[in-house]
Amino acid sequence: MTIETEWRDVDVLVVGSGAAGSQAALAAAEPGGRVLLISKDPIAASDTKISGGAATVRQSGDDSDSVEALSENIRIAGADLAVKSITDAFAEDSRGAYDRFRAQGLRPGIDTERNGPKPRPLPFGGHTKRRTVGHANRGVAFSHAGWNVIVQGGGEGRIDYLEDAWLLDLVTQPDRERGGDAKLLAGALVYHAAGGRLVAMRSPSVVIASGGLSTLYFPKTDTMRGNTGDGYAAAARAGAELVDMEQLQFLPFCLTSPPSYEGLMSGEPVIASFLGVLRDAKGKMILDGVRLRSRAECAAAIMRAVEAGRGTPDGGAYLDLTANAKGERAGPYFMRFLTETNLPAYTNVRQAHGRKVADCEQPWEVRPAAHYLMGGIRTDAFGASVGGEGDGEAGLGIAGLFAAGQAMGGVFGADRLGSTSLTEGAVFGARAGTGAVRHARQSSASPSDDAFQAAIGAWSSRFGQAGNRRAAPLRSRLQQESWTNIGPVRTEAKSDAMEALIAGWRQQLDAIEIPPHVLWNQDFIEFVELTNMLDVAQATALAARERDGSVGSHVRLDRPDISILARPYSTVVARSDDGGWSVRRVAREKTPLGTVVAARLQKAKRLMQARMLRWLPGGLRDRALERRYRAVMG
């Protein structure tokens, strides 16, 4: 049986159905664009659904919050790897973008005095202002809003969608206007598994909003299985550049056992409260002031202990919250704080380890798990693919290619503040959708069917491929090796080892058995995703070697930390048409040293205060903590 190809014509193809994809589709449909949205999982079953459901909304807490303050918070957290025009756009649009969710049925608690959404009582770590708005039912509530956008069709029925649809490749053609090697998007080739056919989408604009690559690793958090790096890989194969691919966020406190729960979250650093510390297998303290630390700092402390042979039996460390719970007066406040801060994570701990552990009578065994890629497709502040030096130029990117949400790089740099991902999806989804429909209308070149033929030939010939290997077991092996070699701790030798492994696996791709049936062919699906995971593993290995020092979420055991005096740069990875990969650096704008030093001093001061609190005699400390809990919790 040969697989048939259906042809479709649209103005904008959106890949992905989470916050970014749904908002991109809406923004492209509003001015009248014909939009087709594809999703390999059921629509809206994305990382938006599993997110904490907290959104960053500038000025929701008080009017002194500004675009400059929010933009600067993001860049300082990200060690100046983020692009300033992009963080400015995030800050500028955060309120309007959030209201787009609300127009589709997202209902926050209302602060009647300020006549607006009610923010959480304390700023999240790294935010200098109260601007985090929480929601009943967390990310599930956001995904209802996104679902409504897609199913309602943007109000005018201009959005159609196809689920069970895998992006195979972007299709480009030479851009005659710009000449040289410049490329223009012709569309994309898609496998519609439920229909048992390929779909050739003639589409002058494509928005990649297909999420991250956490499935390249195990353990991973509760991020969706579908995070196999499809968007990054397809963009790279089409010639787009990828930025900061070494900056993968690992959530530090995840479960080590039982097997069904491995990698699921136990809690954020903030749950350590006033007295929580991290200890190694022998009980020696490896990190104090945990609640003041970033996710990256905590994950690095655990993995450095593991690498030094001081890890727990399941390869992690102990998050010791027992001192918090012991206080006669403050203890009950702490337990309320712990359960209220992140109930689903707390429930995970209780289900996995039972009441005694959940009640903090014993330390929690925790380990990092792969979560969120700060890097991604290199774009400008409108989500358009860019090339060139510095922050890049759209004129040097692939015309018609856009990215938004986790698929896009340059927003966060080396670390990501809490409550920013949903806002990111909405802000840049809307921006990319607007840019995409504008490009589609201005584009005079018509997509050439010839440009699709190579991709159709290559992918359709995979159905019925004979071989003696299967994709699924290879994927498990790749996940293990990625953890070891390009995971939470890296060295030059590990990157080299990973590249050698990838080269070996690539040679096996033609020997993978794929049966000929066309309706939901699981082997074909595994093959597609394995191919994508090999590409993003390659990009990560290259970037991890090029970034020759520790910064943010990237930990190099064989190199010192990168100094705050150093000139910031981002790594840029590209694949040429002949299949060769390359990496280079582009310069970034530095936040004035005085501002960075002031932020560091502030943190050092708070850490010292935390230590002094820990050193107080028991009874005195208990009373002091009770007062503090009362002040923030009532």
């Binding site: 059921p42 079953a45 049925g105 599930v140 029925g157 097997p259 699924a472 699981q522």
Partner: protein, 251 residues
């Protein structure tokens, strides 16, 4: 796998579908820890990674949030990542939707029946209104489709000849679709016409099937009967017992 197998095995029957043919294959799950009580999803993942590399099934978050991994365990819908299995249990594709491959069913006929039928009429200036608790209760729905089980309204789709094309959206409704419509009716921001239209859509989808039905069961514990079905039925035909009071559609 020497060390793992020392913890024992649990054998489960997997119902596999391929190109219209169905067969049952046993799989012996190798326990990975002392006293492990595996979830259905653990069994599927291990089978695929070892002896059944082409085993097809859906899953997403492993944490009961995404609603994607629903299958039937011994004939009843369960969320696979949180459904513990025991010796000789049978895992099969959800009986309420057409099977595509092994445990994967075609889901899109459900959502597509609401395409273009959810206009709320919210204006940007009216957004700062607190939603009632019932609204938030309905937002907990993760779209796992466990509620299709034994639903007399959805059964009309399965009984219809010729069978409806899911690609066009099913003609008859289900508790999930009713939940979406009732949510629109509870939203303080919805325009009055939107609320009326939502009720009409519910009737068109076969709300009358709910009048004699003892009630539906939600996969994540939402009170579907109390919060969705009862308010819609009462809005359409008046409180129970007054069946003739407002019956405007001759049903």
């Amino acid at each position: 796998m020497d060390e793992s197998s020392s913890f024992g095995t649990v054998t489960v029957n997997l119902v596999r579908e391929r190109e219209g043919e169905r067969r049952t294959e046993p799989y012996a799950y190798v326990l990975r820890a002392e006293g492990e009580r595996p979830m259905a999803l653990d069994v599927l993942l291990q089978a695929q990674a070892t002896t059944m590399p082409d085993l097809a099934f859906r899953f997403g978050c492993r944490a009961r949030n995404c609603g994607v991994c629903t299958i039937d365990v011994n004939g009843r819908p369960r969320i696979a990542c949180r459904a513990r299995v025991k010796e000789s249990d049978t895992l099969s594709p959800m009986a309420t939707l057409p099977a595509l491959s092994d445990l994967v069913v075609r889901r899109d006929g459900i959502a597509r029946q609401l395409m273009g039928r959810l206009a709320g009429g919210a204006g940007a200036n009216e957004l700062n209104r607190e939603a009632p608790d019932d609204y938030h209760a309905l937002t907990a729905c993760i779209e796992c489709y466990a509620c299709l089980h034994e639903c007399p309204m959805h059964q009309r789709n399965l009984d219809a000849t010729p069978p409806p094309d899911p690609g066009n959206g099913y003609p008859w409704g289900n508790p999930f679709s009713l939940l979406k419509l009732q949510r629109l009716r509870l939203d303080p921001v919805s325009a009055p016409q939107a609320r009326a239209a939502a009720l009409e859509t519910a009737k068109t989808l076969g709300l009358d099937a709910c009048r004699d039905c003892p009630g539906c069961k939600c996969g994540v514990g939402i009170d579907l009967k109390g919060l969705v079905v009862k308010p819609l039925v009462e809005a359409a035909w008046g409180p129970a017992g007054d069946a003739n009071q407002e019956s405007g559609d001759g049903d």
